[in-house]
C-alpha cells in the first residue's frame, strides 16, 4: 500500500515535470506514455481536415455513455442579461435563443427556415411581409402565442429606445394584426435585410413585457416559446434551463441544459476530459491537440462569421504631410506583403481561413475574389512606384489579449519586409473603443487590428458599418475613413432591392470594389471550434458553426 502511494506520488512529480516541459501534450487515454513534443504549426492544417473526417467514425466506435440526462455546456463568457431585448452580445444570444424563438430562423447553410411562422410572403413592392403563424403554441407563462404577441414585441421596442430591439425594428412602419394567426409587418421602404433581422426578433410573452419591471422579471424567469425554460441563474456562474414539457414541436431529449461560465481555456478542456462538461465552446486553437486523439471527444470545426482585418486610415498623414494609405498602391502593397496562409497557420494553428472576399463565406451573398497571394517583390515595387521605397513608421491599435497581440505582431513582421515599421499600441478593448470611435478631426487611429461579425448573417451588416462612407466614426467603425461613391451607392441600392439575383449582383460588385481598393489588410476568417462528448446527439447548427440545442440528447446510462 505504502509502495503504491509512493509510486503515484513519483508519477505525479514526473507528470508535473513533463507537462511543464511540453505545454501539456496529452490526453486521458494516453496517461503514462511519454508525452510527444508539441506538433509544429504546419502539420495542424492537415489535422483540421483529419479531425473532421474522424468525427463520424469516433461517434460510431465510442461506447462512452453519460452518467445523467443533464447536459452541461462550458462556455467562455457569460450572458450580460437574459432579457432578449436588452442583451447585445453573442454569449447572451446563445443562451436566450434556447428560451425564445423568432418568426423565422437560419439553418447552418444560411437558408431561411420557418420557426414560429410556418409561411411567409412579401408584397410586390417589397414593403410588406405577411406571416402565417403556427397555431396552438404557448409561452412558458401559459399565455397563447398569436399575432397580437408579435405586435406587442414591436410596441415594446417603440416604447423603449435603450433596448437593442430598436435596431431590428428601426426600418419598420407598422405591425398589422390581420387575424389571430396572421400578421403583416410593413416597412418604411424595401429592405433586403428584413428577413435576416427577423431572425433576431425574439418573441416574448405580452404578459411578461407588460409588467412594470419587465426586465427584472425576465432576468429571473423565461417567457418565450423555446424548448427550454429558465430554472436558475448565478450571474457569472451558470444558467440552468429545464426542458419545456409543453414544447410545440420535436424538442430536446435531455432533462436540463446548463451553460456554465468557465473563462479559463485549460479548465474548459479539463472539464470535457473529466465529463463534467458534455460540450465546450470555444476550444482554443492551441489546445485542439490536447483532445483530438481522445476517442470520447468529437471536435467540430466550422468557418465562423468572424472576419479579421486591419483598417488603414486613408486620411492619416505622416509628419511631412504625405498620406501613405490614401494611395491605393501602398494599400495593395500591404496586402501583397501579407501572407494570409501563414497567418492562419502561425496565429490560429491552421484553424482559420485565408480571405477570399471582404467578409466570411458563411454570410449571405458572399462573392469570391482573387486572393492577394503573398508576393514581396510585387509589394516592394508598388511601394517604390508610390514613392515609399524607404517605407514609413506607423502605429497599430490592438486589443491586449494574447491572440490579438499575436496577430498584430504577425502583421508587424510581415509589413517590416517592405519597410513599414509598425508599432503596436495594445490596450484594453473598452479603452480602444473610445479611441476608434473618435471622429476624423480628432482620430488617432492609423491602423486598427480588429474583427467584425454580422449577428444576423447579412451582407449589408457585414459591410455598411465598417466601409460605407457615411459610417465614419462615431456613426460607425469605418476607421479607414474610406469613402467610395460607387461602393456606397451599390450598398444603398441593394438594400432596397427584393430580387435576390439583383441583390447578389450588387453585393458582388461592391465586394469586388472594396477588394480591389483594399482600405484594409485582409487577414482571414476564424473557425468556430466546438468539442463535445461522443454521447451527445441531435445537435443543430446556425451559420458560422453556432450550436442549437433544440433536439439535443444524451446517450445515458
Amino acid at each position: 500500500m505504502r509502495n503504491r502511494k509512493f509510486i503515484s506520488l513519483a508519477l505525479a512529480g514526473a507528470m508535473v515535470l513533463s507537462l511543464a516541459a511540453c505545454g501539456g501534450n496529452n490526453s486521458s487515454q494516453q496517461a503514462g506514455t511519454t508525452a510527444a513534443p508539441a506538433a509544429p504549426a504546419e502539420s495542424t492544417t492537415a489535422d483540421a481536415a483529419a479531425v473532421e473526417a474522424s468525427k463520424a467514425a469516433k461517434q460510431e466506435a465510442s461506447t462512452a455513455k453519460s452518467a445523467d440526462n443533464d447536459i452541461v455546456v462550458a462556455v467562455q463568457a457569460d450572458a450580460t442579461h437574459l432579457d432578449p431585448h436588452v442583451s447585445s452580445n453573442g454569449a447572451s444570444n446563445q443562451i436566450t435563443n434556447e428560451m425564445y424563438e423568432c418568426l423565422l430562423s437560419f439553418d447552418e447553410n444560411t437558408n431561411v427556415i420557418p420557426m414560429l411562422a410556418k409561411e411567409w410572403s412579401v408584397s410586390e413592392d417589397g414593403c410588406a411581409y405577411t406571416f402565417i403563424l403556427n397555431e396552438g403554441i404557448k409561452f412558458h407563462d401559459g399565455e397563447p402565442f398569436n399575432a397580437e404577441s408579435v405586435k406587442a414585441v414591436y410596441e415594446r421596442g417603440l416604447a423603449d429606445p435603450s433596448l437593442t430591439l430598436q435596431r431590428t425594428i428601426s426600418a419598420w412602419e407598422d405591425v398589422v394584426v390581420d387575424s389571430e394567426y396572421q400578421v403583416t409587418i410593413k416597412l418604411k421602404e424595401p429592405n433586403n435585410t428584413f428577413v435576416n433581422k427577423i431572425t433576431q426578433f425574439r418573441i416574448v410573452s405580452p404578459k411578461a413585457m407588460a409588467m412594470e419591471n419587465a426586465s427584472d422579471y425576465l432576468a429571473k424567469n423565461s417567457a418565450g416559446t423555446g424548448p427550454f425554460v429558465l430554472s436558475e441563474r448565478v450571474d457569472g456562474g451558470y444558467t440552468k434551463m429545464v426542458r419545456n414539457e409543453n414544447y410545440w414541436r420535436e424538442g430536446p431529449g435531455v432533462d436540463s441544459l446548463t451553460f456554465q461560465v468557465v473563462p479559463e481555456d485549460a479548465a474548459r478542456i479539463a472539464m470535457l476530459q473529466t465529463g463534467e462538461a458534455d460540450i465546450i465552446y470555444p476550444v482554443p486553437v492551441t489546445d485542439v491537440s490536447l483532445i483530438e486523439n481522445d476517442p470520447s471527444i468529437i471536435i467540430d470545426v466550422a468557418p465562423a462569421t468572424t472576419y479579421r482585418y486591419v483598417t488603414l486610415n486613408t486620411e492619416w498623414a505622416l509628419p511631412d504631410g504625405r498620406k501613405p494609405f490614401s494611395d491605393k498602391r501602398v494599400r495593395q502593397a500591404c496586402n501583397y506583403a501579407f501572407d494570409s496562409e501563414a497567418y492562419a497557420k502561425v496565429v490560429f494553428n491552421g484553424y482559420a481561413k485565408a480571405p477570399t472576399s471582404i467578409f466570411s463565406d458563411s454570410i449571405q451573398y458572399f462573392a469570391e475574389q482573387t486572393p492577394y497571394t503573398a508576393d514581396i517583390a510585387k509589394a516592394k515595387s508598388l511601394m517604390e512606384e508610390a514613392g515609399y521605397a524607404d517605407g514609413f513608421d506607423v502605429e497599430i491599435i490592438v486589443d491586449n489579449t494574447t491572440v490579438e497581440q499575436k496577430g498584430a505582431t504577425f502583421v508587424q513582421q510581415q509589413l517590416s519586409q517592405i519597410g513599414i515599421n509598425v508599432k503596436l499600441l495594445p490596450n484594453e478593448s473598452t479603452a480602444n473603443a473610445e479611441k476608434t470611435s473618435a471622429p476624423l478631426e480628432s482620430t488617432t487611429v492609423q491602423m486598427w487590428y480588429v474583427n467584425w461579425a454580422s449577428g444576423s448573417y447579412e451582407a449589408d451588416g457585414s459591410m455598411r458599418n465598417i466601409l460605407h462612407g457615411e459610417k465614419f466614426p462615431p456613426n460607425g467603425y469605418n476607421t479607414a475613413f474610406w469613402n467610395n461613391e460607387e461602393f456606397n451607392q451599390l450598398l444603398d441600392d441593394a438594400l432596397k432591392m427584393s430580387d435576390t439575383t439583383e441583390i447578389a449582383d450588387a453585393y458582388a460588385k461592391a465586394q469586388a470594389i472594396a477588394w480591389e481598393e483594399c482600405p484594409w489588410i485582409f487577414l482571414g476568417n476564424d473557425n468556430t471550434i466546438n468539442a463535445y462528448k461522443t454521447y451527445v446527439t441531435g445537435l443543430l447548427y446556425k451559420p458560422g458553426g453556432v450550436m442549437v440545442f433544440r433536439t439535443v440528447g444524451l446517450d445515458h446510462e
Partner: protein, 306 residues
C-alpha cells in the same frame, strides 16, 4: 476597550467618505464608455445616447457623485449597468462564493505556516530548518494559476478524484483551498520564523532560561506568544487580500466570486459595481485592521487602547 472599538468604528465613517471620493474619481478617469460597450458594436450613435441617458451618464460628475452618496446613505448602491441587478444583491451573491474560498484557504494554511515557521526557528540551522524554508520558498514562488492547473490535471483529469470547476460540494473546495492557502502558508512560515528568532534573542527569554524554566515553557509561553504580534499583522493583511477575491483562483476553478466580478465590471466600465466592490473592499480592510489592533491587546496586555 469597548470605547476604543466604538471610537475606531466612528472614525471609519469619514475615512470611507474620503475613500468614496477617490474611488469615484479614479473610476471616471478610466478611458472608455460603458454605454458604448453595453449597446454593442452594431449600435447606432442614437442607441448609445439612449443608453447613456437611461443610466444617467450624461449628468455632470458632481451630480452623479451626490446621487451615489445619497443612495449609499439609504443603503442603495445602485444597479449594475451590465446586468441591471442591484449592486448590493450582486455583491452579496458573489461574497458567498468568496467567503467559502477564504475559509477553505484559512482552515489549514495559517496553522501549518506558523507551525513550520516556529519549528524552523527552534531547529535553526538544521536540515529541518532548511527543508521548511525550502517548502516556504517553493510555496511563495509557485504561481497560483500553475498550481491550480497542475492540480486540475492530476486530481481531476488523471485521477478523476476531484471536480475541476464550480462549488457544488466540499470536494470542489479542495483544489481551490490548495491554491488559496499555499501562498499564505509560505508567507506565514517565513514571517513566523524570523519573528520567533527575534523573540528568542530577547532578554526575557534569556532570563526565563536562566531561571531554569523548562525549555517547552520558554518556547511556548515566553517566545511564541510574543512573536505572534508580527504574524497577526501579516495574517490580517493576507485575509484582507483574500476577501477582495482571488481573480486567479476564481478564474481557474470557474467560481463566480468577487475578484472576477471586479475584473468583469472594469472591462464593462460598470461604474456602480466597481464603486460598490471597492467600497466593500476598503471597509473589509478597515475592519480587519481593527480586529488586528484588538488582537494585539489580547496577545500582549501591555499594549493599551487609548
Amino acid at each position: 476597550m469597548g470605547r476604543y472599538i466604538a471610537r475606531r468604528l466612528l472614525e471609519t465613517i469619514p475615512l470611507m467618505f474620503v475613500i468614496s471620493i477617490f474611488v469615484f474619481m479614479f473610476i471616471h478617469l478610466l478611458p472608455g464608455d460603458p454605454a458604448r460597450t453595453l449597446a454593442g458594436v452594431e449600435a447606432t450613435p442614437e442607441e448609445i445616447e439612449a443608453v447613456r441617458e437611461e443610466f444617467g451618464l450624461n449628468d455632470p460628475l458632481i451630480v452623479q457623485y451626490v446621487d451615489y452618496i445619497v443612495g449609499l446613505f439609504h443603503g442603495d448602491m445602485g444597479r449594475s449597468l451590465k446586468s441591471n441587478i442591484p449592486v448590493s444583491e450582486l455583491i452579496w451573491s458573489r461574497f458567498q462564493f468568496t467567503i467559502q474560498l477564504v475559509f477553505a484557504g484559512l482552515i489549514w494554511a495559517p496553522f501549518l505556516g506558523i507551525f513550520i515557521g516556529v519549528m524552523c526557528a527552534i531547529k535553526r540551522g538544521t536540515w529541518a530548518d532548511l527543508g521548511g524554508m525550502l517548502l516556504a520558498i517553493c510555496g511563495l514562488s509557485a504561481p497560483g494559476f500553475w498550481l491550480g492547473l497542475m492540480g486540475i490535471q492530476f486530481f481531476s483529469v488523471k485521477l478523476g478524484a476531484l471536480p475541476s470547476a464550480g462549488l457544488d460540494s466540499w470536494k470542489s473546495l479542495v483544489l481551490p483551498s490548495l491554491v488559496m492557502g499555499t501562498g499564505i502558508m509560505a508567507t506565514l512560515a517565513r514571517y513566523s520564523r524570523s519573528s520567533m528568532l527575534e523573540t528568542l534573542r530577547e532578554d526575557y527569554v534569556r532570563t526565563a532560561r536562566a531561571k531554569g524554566q523548562k525549555e517547552s515553557i520558554v518556547m511556548f509561553r515566553h517566545a511564541f506568544k510574543n512573536s505572534l504580534i508580527q504574524v497577526v499583522t501579516i495574517l490580517g493583511l493576507q485575509i484582507g487580500g483574500l476577501l477582495s477575491g482571488s481573480v486567479i483562483t476564481e478564474t481557474i476553478f470557474s467560481i463566480p466570486g468577487m475578484g472576477r466580478l471586479l475584473v468583469d465590471s472594469i472591462a464593462y466600465r460598470d461604474y456602480p459595481a466597481i464603486q460598490g466592490l471597492l467600497m466593500i473592499f476598503a471597509l473589509q480592510y478597515v475592519l480587519i485592521n481593527l480586529v488586528v489592533d484588538v488582537l494585539y491587546g489580547v496577545i500582549n496586555p501591555k499594549i493599551r487602547f487609548d
